[in-house]
């Protein structure tokens, strides 16, 4: 599959999201992800970034949910979307 540009969901997950989240899981702390201030998100960017944590980084839904807090004032529904992507990825993995 072609990566969707230099700033794809996969690149974001591999380079930023997963390492930070991994550190938070090890320290038992919470990673706050603020989605505001961007030009916008493609559906597949968020799906790959968050759903990929379960599919490719072998994290569990429970681990992720207890160590991240997603914030969006500009598009609050994105928080629900991300929860859905995580839930769907968990079901697919099962």
């Amino acid at each position: 599959m072609e990566i969707e540009g230099k700033f794809s969901g996969e690149v974001f997950r591999k380079e930023y999201l997963y390492p930070k989240l991994r550190a938070c899981i090890e320290n038992d702390s919470k990673l706050v992800i603020v989605l505001d201030g961007t030009a916008g998100y493609g559906t597949s960017f968020l799906e790959e970034a968050f759903g990929g944590l379960i599919r490719h980084n072998n994290l569990t839904h429970a681990e992720i949910m207890s160590h991240i807090s997603v914030v969006s004032e500009e598009q609050p529904y994105l928080v629900d979307d991300i929860n859905d992507y995580l839930a769907d990825a968990e079901i697919t993995e099962d």
């Binding site: 030009a39 799906e47 790959e48």
Partner: protein
């Protein structure tokens, strides 16, 4: 502020013009002899005072109450005009994807751009909350149609990324067009509601 001052001046000018027309009419009536209409040769001070007081009241009311009405009217016009630019953006996207391709950045930022503007235009008006909510739902659906590529590669996917561009299947283009038309129509209905309000 400048616009409000212009409107006030415009109204004052119209009042002065109206007074001039009435005075001219009185002079013409005085010069010509029209049956059943009599102009007093001498105007009493009481009558003159009555005219001046009435005119002062008219000008006072106009200056006190008309600016707020003008302000509302200007806001309505601005909102309707701004919504018109959103319909134009939607039309532009429709022609962009007619050949089945559109750049990643343009498409990814499209729905958020429209939504941000809609919140600015409609967000301050409680009577338009429902319209805003419905438009946000429609935009969310459009974003899914535009940017949802499959997690695993599929040869005949409806949305693919090729050389930094989204490539759409014919059926997906039809779905996107349908969604864009629907959003345009919803914005138009909102324009009508603002105009009527």
């Amino acid at each position: 502020m400048v616009q409000l001052a212009m409107v006030t001046l415009n109204r004052l000018f119209r009042l002065v013009l109206l007074t001039l027309v009435i005075v001219s009419l009185a002079i013409v009536l005085k010069m010509t002899d029209i049956p059943h209409i009599k102009i007093e040769p001498v105007i009493s001070p009481t009558h003159a005072l009555s005219i001046v007081v009435t005119a002062a009241f008219a000008i006072g009311i106009s200056l006190l109450f008309e600016p707020s009405r003008s302000k509302n009217s200007s806001e309505k016009t601005l909102k309707i005009e701004r919504l018109k630019t959103l319909i134009e953006s939607i039309d532009k996207l429709q022609s962009e994807i007619a050949d089945g391709r559109a750049s990643l950045y343009y498409v990814n930022s499209f729905t958020k751009g429209i939504e941000t503007k809609l919140r600015l235009i409609l967000g301050t008006e409680p009577a338009l909350n429902k319209e805003l909510e419905n438009l946000q739902k429609e935009l969310r659906g459009l974003n899914n149609l535009l940017t949802s590529t499959p997690a695993d590669p599929i040869k005949d996917a409806d949305v693919k990324v090729v050389k930094g561009q989204y490539n759409y299947s014919t059926s997906r283009i039809a779905e996107i067009n349908h969604s864009l038309e629907s959003i345009s129509n919803s914005i138009f209905s909102t324009q009508l509601k603002i105009n009527a309000g």
